[in-house]
Symmetry: C2
Subunit: 355 residues, 2 copies
């Protein structure tokens, strides 16, 4: 899509629209603020499929009763270093940020912590949560059961696996390194973005379940299977992460996953896990950071394959987007702007253009 | 390679050859037995690049002084749920099995444990260690810094990344599910096997660093770059796992990695980590297992893409190999048998054929 079809909107404006939309839909002010902040962080860091893009769907779901607007999020500390968070079907951002806070606090005591989450909901980009421990001198690991099954297991066509993402955050002397990968060949949010923008998908993303032939029309992706990253490896990773983020926590996996694109009402029982590892229990944090920086320099200064202009490391795009978008605004596609105007009108709140 | 070029040898025979070879090379009997048992388990479970195949190299290294034959393996418990194991440059199998034992014991107390390892060595297939917690009702996660850098970072050609494997073990009602994946498109042990057996590699495994053209001759793989699984995702995962398994533990990563194929003497300072998560802290283990079994049934009974005869899940090949090879023996290639005969002769121990 050409940049002419994108309009830059300040993150102050998107954040305030998101917050007002949530409040108008019945979320308490503090919760609306927190969700708006995390969704705006997704937009600022380039996770375009996970920020304000999701607002119309979230609002639809809030209206339909699919989210609990006043959840009683509980934390059961099941052992010195483990906890199980029950999100009481609240907004995923609220549940997961609570889980991350618990994980960080526990890891300070025990060196590592593992917090499982059940009865949560879609919580935005995985990198958001892997970064939280990394901002506290810890390694962060995060995974989730995705909120719809777009993949089969390797060779299979029943839609039993989601794009179950994995994110790893590691501190450095400057911004943390953040790896955020869907176990599918591409994140489903990207497919949605292609559909909304009318772009053709590359071959190798989706295949027809009956014939195995490629599907490139993003509007017809529902007729096929999303392929895993790295063939059977991505499929296996989606399966294992699903069992650990879902089944282990008594959360949905496999046939039990609720497709939140098609169903605004049923509780999704979304599962996640987050792990925090306190680096200081292994070596001084400054030593770790300077060693990471040294390795980063080696990697960046590597010779390159023909046609490669620059070495990119995990998290580079996040950092660059954050800088550029904080300055220039968040690029939003015109079809999305139209949806957001319609939403503002329905909720009787100020549209983006008046913010 | 046709099956005519493979000879089945009983695992009793391979295990006793391995053990005798280690003893003849100066390892204490108990250590030799433990290494032989773990290498034989690698062979039985189909990790052909990690079993007796490695024996000539290990013996060469023992003779050259590259391993400490009498290591003082120490465990520093740095927090209630974390420990750092210093392998004192002992055989990796000894160091990692000790680390796994510690991780399992600690997780019983704290719910989760994270054990980092430094000054270890090549320890065989990752699945071996992820399975250990799974045999104790725990989820096991394991990763390692590989003992040679065959990959560049994404777009780069300096050999700064290894095939750094990730393994995840999850208990079920029968055999655990074990995912064991190199972050490269293929494990380097497989490349070695292709070279030894004179097989051409598929395009897409290696490229020439100057031209980007594919390399298919396994004997010429050292002229090029091994590619990551799933493009930038595998490269990113190799990097992050390397930092966590290596740098976090004060172990080698990046430019510091010693290529143990080329250097038999220098200490490799190999890093690993293992995580054990006690399932009973999240839900009753029997509930977990029956839920996993239910999901496995769904996955196995899935409809299939055209041309797919059977759904394969992580660990299937391990289980089938173990059954078949315990019964029929371990298939060894004739060039490997010749090397093992030569080795037995040099060490003045009985050759495989007399066992």
């Amino acid at each position: 899509m050409s940049s002419a079809d994108l309009v830059n909107v300040s993150s102050r404006a998107t954040r305030s629209l998101i917050k007002d939309a949530f409040v108008a839909s019945g979320l308490p002010e503090a919760d609306a603020l927190k969700c708006a902040a995390l969704m705006t962080e997704a937009d600022l860091t380039g996770a375009d499929g996970h920020g304000i893009f999701r607002l119309p769907q979230y609002i639809r779901r809030l209206k339909a009763g699919g989210f609990n607007k006043h959840p009683n999020i509980t934390v059961t500390k099941s052992a010195p270093a483990t906890a199980l968070v029950d999100g009481d079907n609240g907004m995923g951002h609220l549940v997961m940020s609570r889980a991350a806070d618990e994980a960080i606090a526990m890891a300070k005591e025990t060196g590592v912590s593992w917090v499982g989450v059940r009865r949560s909901n879609h919580a935005g980009p995985a990198g958001l949560y892997a970064e939280m421990p990394a901002q506290h001198g810890m390694v962060g690991l995060y995974a989730a059961v995705a909120n719809a099954n777009h993949m089969g297991t390797w060779g299979g066509t029943d839609l039993l696996l989601g794009t179950n993402p994995l994110a790893i955050g590691v501190p450095s002397g400057s911004d943390p390194l953040i790896l955020d990968i869907a176990t599918s060949i591409v994140a489903y949010g990207t497919v949605k973005k292609y559909a909304q923008r009318g772009l053709a998908m590359p071959e190798g993303w989706f295949v027809n379940a009956e014939t195995g032939a490629p599907i490139t029309d993003a509007d017809r992706s529902h007729e096929g299977l999303l392929l895993p990253m790295g063939e059977y490896k991505g499929s296996g990773l989606a399966l294992m992460l699903g069992l650990i983020a879902g089944t282990l926590n008594g959360a949905a996996f496999g046939r039990d996953v609720v497709d939140f694109n098609a169903d605004d009402k049923s509780e999704t029982n979304t599962g996640h896990f987050i792990v925090a590892v306190d680096i200081a229990r292994f070596l001084p944090i400054e030593t770790f950071k300077s060693e990471v920086d040294r390795h980063i320099r080696d990697l960046r200064n590597s010779k390159r394959l023909p046609g490669v202009d620059e070495i990119r490391l995990p998290g580079d795009r996040r950092g660059e987007c954050r800088t550029a978008r904080a300055r220039d605004g968040v690029p939003l596609a015109k079809p999305l702007l139209a949806l957001l105007d319609k939403l503002a009108n329905e909720l009787n709140i100020k549209p983006l253009t008046e913010r």
